[in-house]
Symmetry: C5
Subunit: 92 residues, 5 copies
């Protein structure tokens, strides 16, 4: 799983029927010091996340479909938690 921040939303009116009702958020993966890591991506929201919140993102189809509560949903990324704290005990 990755740590990311919600940075935007995407609207898609014409979409696959199994995707209806899913909220789609734009997330930016983060490094441990909260700087951006790599590119933004789109994830379905499984926990009711909002703009600016730091979230836990799962990047895999089966897992993302489970997060959405729809096994047959055509999705590959999902927000599965809102992060309270990250505690780094050791830096290599």
């Amino acid at each position: 799983m990755q740590i990311a921040r919600v940075v935007g939303t995407v609207v898609s009116t014409q979409k696959h029927r199994k995707f209806e009702g899913a909220k789609l958020l734009l997330v930016q993966p983060l490094n441990l010091d909260d700087t951006p890591r790599g590119n933004t991506l789109l994830a379905v929201d499984g926990v009711g996340a909002g703009i600016h919140e730091k979230v836990l993102v799962v990047l895999e189809g089966r897992a993302a479909g489970e997060a959405l509560g729809r096994k047959a949903a055509p999705v590959d990324a999902a927000i599965i938690g809102i992060i309270d704290t990250v505690d780094v005990r050791e830096s290599l």
Copy 2:
């Protein structure tokens, strides 16, 4: 999921039987400013997308098979929505 633009088509006459009838489009992943990100790839069309349209692409086999409506289809990428708007509220 990724944001991409449809930039071409591919014709394959001799193909796997479970792939018959699927429309195959060439898509270019995009950055948030609509510049190209990485390489083009081939995705099956699950929503009736056309050339130049900005689309939502899922990159994973199970999910792509679901988008095509064929669980056992040998596919790994699919177009699952046509994007109306992308709203970036916060840039990190």
Copy 3:
């Protein structure tokens, strides 16, 4: 899916029993101008492809197993079509 060219073959006598009889080809992924893109990889042949042919390669385990017609086969890449034409309408 990726566009690739068949560039060689691999022989493996001692292999997993569910892999018996599968033809294994060495393929080179291509850019749209037919120059090589990244590294070569090994794919099982699901359509009867030959050396030098331009093919459609699926890169994912479930999908590749389907292409081979064996759901439980331990494979992660397969050739699922022979490409006739690639038509690029728009370059970003």
Copy 4:
């Protein structure tokens, strides 16, 4: 599978219900000489690992869900073993 070291923990109170009770650890993938390789990631703990331990990490949704003992869990990485020794016989 990858070799990694446990370097921290993450707390997420508001999370997907199938994720309840799972311990989430921050791990740093390692090279063979124990230097860091790439970015840290989050993995669910399937073996009771602690801070600083060298562990075996599986990076794939189905496998990670199995490690957690919950087939339908929305996870994509898991710690499946604690490493005693790595024996490199040949360096290429």
Copy 5:
């Protein structure tokens, strides 16, 4: 699938129960000229491979679990064949 060479072993006493008895080998992916390509990784052995042998590695969870003969095993890479010859007919 990738071509790799077995370069070492890993011992993990405390591991996930579904992982018991699996032999874990350290493999180095290779280029066509047998030079190393990228980083080493850990794969379960599905064919009885030994140190220095050139092997066929599958990189995907479902496929690797099949190679191990345990559908629910938490693994993401497996050795599925020992390579006799690689025949490159055409270099792009």
